[in-house]
Symmetry: C2
Subunit: 201 residues, 2 copies
DNA sequence: GCCGGCCCATGACGCACGTCATGGTCGCGA
DNA sequence: TCGCGACCATGACGTGCGTCATGGGCCGGC
């Protein structure tokens, strides 16, 4: 019997997935969580074999949660499910030690199959997403550029970004300009959109 | 027995919801669709009593689909489910004749209850969303301002927006400036974010 | 008929921003 | 050790953008 932890902020989806997994007689949903912190507490209490995590939780990124969860519960493998998967997310997820990564567009039978696969030590990534990730390649942005671009995402003026990053406004402009050039964007706002599209921020 | 049509582009979610609804013995999922066109064809073929539609389908808006579906299959009531519901969406949905509107964060038991309610001629909207919609009120933007703001969403420069809207750059700036002022935003990018947050674009 | 709101346009002003050149400090690999 | 690239900063230049004033054409309500 494989013991599964489910984490998704959308109650409807979470319990629907639980119902789906419960149909399989070798799977057992031992815990459900609606947030990352809740998921961590649940995992410590129930020590599940496999954790099925949504990419976007209300309080934290599903990927960083997976990393922390692996440290907290060593025997537990993580699978990420996501609505619209970006290549960059897949890359970051694999670096964080995630064993399975699949979009919600996949067939229902795939999920339980993936849970079994990762429990046996295997890995699974959606083939289409993998192809995209390989063709898309790495982020051309330096870490700092990605940081600044992240701060610029809300449409904040340079002055505010500089304050929040403890930088001079001129430096912020330089980073932004460099990032926009690398992404072939006309301005930083288009650069933000482009970086998001690839999952680089 | 209430006959239900399910439309959601995410296979995993759709079949999980189907499994959930199948647990109720007075509900029967007679058709599933992954796109709006597919949903229309399915509805014509199976004449369901209730249609459960995702807000965002790949080929069309779930709301406009509901409107067309009501015309094509008169006896069919529509329920919209959505990940993150914005007040504006709710308003537009009700105007389109949608009978139920709920976010995916609701409890699982609610969905089947809502299906029964709308089948009996009742209505249901998520209380929290309704409260937001009432407090948020109507969009302060004129139709043209909303158009221009929509075009500005990608971070395009004013020149390009003007070309795409067949306007002079100055007029575009005026519209954007007015929109930003109405939304209490510092610039048009923040205005876009704000308008999106309310579902006004 | 007149007033008011929306739509479109023009022009001017000033600030924010994008771009470039330059220079300094680190850390890393050849 | 030297070279290279990331990171931070400063300053200057030109332009894109936000803002305001102004005015004309169009419709709908008082």
């Amino acid at each position: 019997m494989i013991r599964v932890l489910l984490a998704d902020d959308e109650n409807l989806i979470r319990s629907a997935l639980a119902a789906l997994l419960a149909l399989e007689d070798d799977l057992e949903v031992v815990a459900e969580a609606a947030s990352a912190t809740e998921a961590l507490a649940m995992a410590r209490a129930h020590t599940p074999d496999v954790a099925v995590l949504d990419l976007q939780l209300p309080d934290r990124d599903g990927i960083s949660l997976a990393a922390e969860l692996a440290a907290a519960v060593p025997g537990c493998s993580s699978v990420i499910v996501t609505g619209h998967g970006r290549p960059g997310h897949l890359k970051r997820a694999l670096e964080a030690g995630v064993r399975g990564f699949l979009p919600k567009t996949v067939n229902a039978a795939v999920l339980s199959a993936v849970v079994r696969t990762v429990h046996q030590g295997g890995r699974y990534v959606d083939p289409e997403l993998a192809a995209e990730a390989i063709s898309a390649g790495d982020s051309p942005l330096t870490p700092r550029e990605a940081d600044i671009l992240e701060l610029a995402a809300g449409g904040a003026p340079v002055e505010e970004i500089a304050a929040r990053a403890h930088l001079s406004p001129g430096t912020v402009r330089n980073h932004l300009s460099a990032a926009a050039a690398k992404l072939h964007a006309a301005n930083r706002h288009a650069a933000v959109a482009e970086a998001r599209r690839h999952g680089w921020i």
